[in-house]
């Protein structure tokens, strides 16, 4: 079993390392974190508007949806899977909640649950297609990408559904202690739960084993099928939650929301040190990855860099981040 999970940061491994490194590694992957700190330092020098509390709150709020989707994606990628459908499921959940509230006239809490439920259902369908239908995750979730987007357009008739109660909008507008938006608090709580689950729960640790070598995991008695279905269902539910938060922020459920977002989500997870080959990845690394993307976008915006160049820079950062991380790991072994 230990051979399977050698790439993850287990507590007894980190205990033997030099202390500062242990602290960084305990937090997640030190490489991406250092990259983030470097990025923040550079942008602080270049733009006076960057290093302000207000702006950091902005960045956190701007990445909250990305981060929530990336949390589910981290678990999926650890099992050596992929979920291409998250952007579409996000739109489907928003539109479902919007329809339930505005068209069906149900109360908003019910609409909220309907949105979460449809997200989980789409994820469950992914899981079933992959385990029972024997489809590769790439194909199954590609199919769901198309189906969920299509359903979102069908339900909404292609139009945005707008206008929600104030308390719902408060998810992104209300600020705890006048500074921290509720959506940011939600991200922090979800990430703490996610980190604890992957680190301490047997079924969380099983995901690393499945991603390391599925056949061996099965032979050593893990219920691989059940764990995978669970992972995709949770990823779908989180995509749904992301859709609801986006909807609260825009006060509008958009059938075209999150188009192409799956690529940003995968980028955040991979920048955070996860391996698409499975068996490696951490929740804290993913948060750092999402922050790197958010800080880059925000910083380049503040610096007035044209959006065309922003795409070039973000692509280069993804390549550099993953390359340095891979080289660093290789030199350690």
């Amino acid at each position: 079993m230990s051979a399977l999970v050698r790439d993850q940061e287990t507590p007894d491994q980190t205990g033997r390392k030099p202390s500062w490194r242990a602290v960084l590694d305990r937090f997640g992957s030190s490489g991406p974190l250092l990259g983030l700190l470097l990025l923040v330092a550079i942008l602080s020098v270049l733009s006076p508007a960057f290093l302000t509390v207000n702006n950091f709150v902005n960045v956190f709020q701007q990445i909250s949806v990305l981060a929530i989707l990336a949390l589910g994606m981290t678990a999926v990628i650890i099992t050596a899977g992929i979920d291409l459908s998250v952007g579409s499921v996000l739109a489907l959940a928003g539109v479902t909640a919007g329809w339930t509230f505005a068209e069906a006239g149900m109360p908003m809490p019910f609409a909220f649950l309907a949105g979460l439920g449809i997200g989980a259902l789409a994820g469950l369908a992914n899981g079933l297609m992959i385990t029972l239908g024997k489809l590769p995750p790439f194909i199954a979730t590609l199919a769901m990408l198309s189906m969920a987007r299509g359903l979102a357009l069908v339900i909404s008739d292609g139009r945005p559904i707008s206008g929600y109660p104030d308390w719902f909008r408060a998810i992104t507008r209300f600020q705890l202690f006048g500074v921290v938006p509720l959506s940011v608090l939600l991200v922090v709580i979800l990430f703490l739960l996610g980190a604890a689950y992957l680190r301490y729960r047997p079924s969380g640790r099983a995901l690393y084993a499945i991603g390391g070598n599925e056949e061996v995991a099965r032979l050593s008695g893990l219920n691989v099928r059940r764990e995978k279905i669970k992972v995709y269902t949770v990823a779908g539910a989180l995509a749904g939650l992301g859709g609801l938060i986006l909807m609260a922020r825009l006060n509008s459920a958009q059938p075209t929301a999150g188009t192409g977002m799956e690529l940003d989500v995968i980028a955040a997870v991979v920048i955070g040190g996860a391996s698409l080959a499975g068996g490696r990845g951490s929740v804290s690394g993913t948060l750092v990855g999402a922050l790197i993307i958010g800080v880059l976008r925000n910083g380049l915006n503040l610096l007035d860099v044209s959006s065309f160049w922003q795409q070039v820079v973000i692509g280069a950062v993804i390549a550099i981040a993953v390359m340095t991380d891979t080289l660093r790991r290789r030199s350690k072994h």
């Binding site: 945005p160 509008s252 503040l302």
Partner: protein, 310 residues
Amino acid sequence: MRRLLIAVAAGTAVALTACGNGDEGGGSDADVTVGLSISTLENPFFVTLRDGAEEAADEAGVELRVSDARDDAQSQADDVQDFVTRDVDVLVINPVDSAAIVPSIEAANDADIPVVTVDRGSEGGEVASHIASDNVQGGRLAGEFLFEEIGGSGEVAQLEGIAGTSAARDRGAGFEEALDAASGIELVSSQAADFSRDEGLTVAENVLQANADLGGVFAQNDEMALGAVEAARSAGVLDELVIVGFDATDDALAAIEDGEMDATIAQQPDEMGRLGIETAVSIAGGDDVEAEQPVEVQLVTADNVGEFAE
């Protein structure tokens, strides 16, 4: 009558804006920063709008910052939030979506930053002025021309823009007005192609496949019309099919000169961008501005395309 009123209002607005500029000529404008949030710079129309805005900003001596949301409502919310953080003096917003922009405009309102909307409007929040083409008039002009070209009777199809945008809604409404007024015209297909050339090509191919007797196509923008041109070319019906677009982009004007497209509606994106900045400068100078500033549209055909092509 309504048209006349609009024209008068527009004229007055332009005159007022011009006066506002004159008052501001003292050089104090250098301190004014305007944030321009554009829906997408991957569409030539909005690039022209941006160019008009930049030109006007240069002339007025104000600092202009431009962001590009790449047609994503969430990105635009981020862009506007970043502008508010940087404390620009006036925001000029070209919304990706009329509903989804509302919370961003409310945030700008909370920060006491005046907002001008360009092209697409907002469904809420306080907007100091909205500048847009008369899209209903354009849709009607396009429809009337199309029906006349196919001889007053026959089958036509419509390629719709992104559902929910006011441009798609208004152009469609104008086209339907013309359709209601005409007799003998049958609308056999009306499908969304999302303002893109790729989608326009695909949808037009399908429509041509399904309707052999199609006489003409009205596309709610030129990109889709140019997609329809390619579809008609591969189907071998380019010469017979009447294709009318909207926006008068450079590509479309060239296509009209080459006889591939038959007409388009000239909006004046550079004028919109210019008016947006001039309005912003007036607001920064403390002047009142008109709440609605329609920008005239014109039918462009092979007869007058020379006036529009550069």
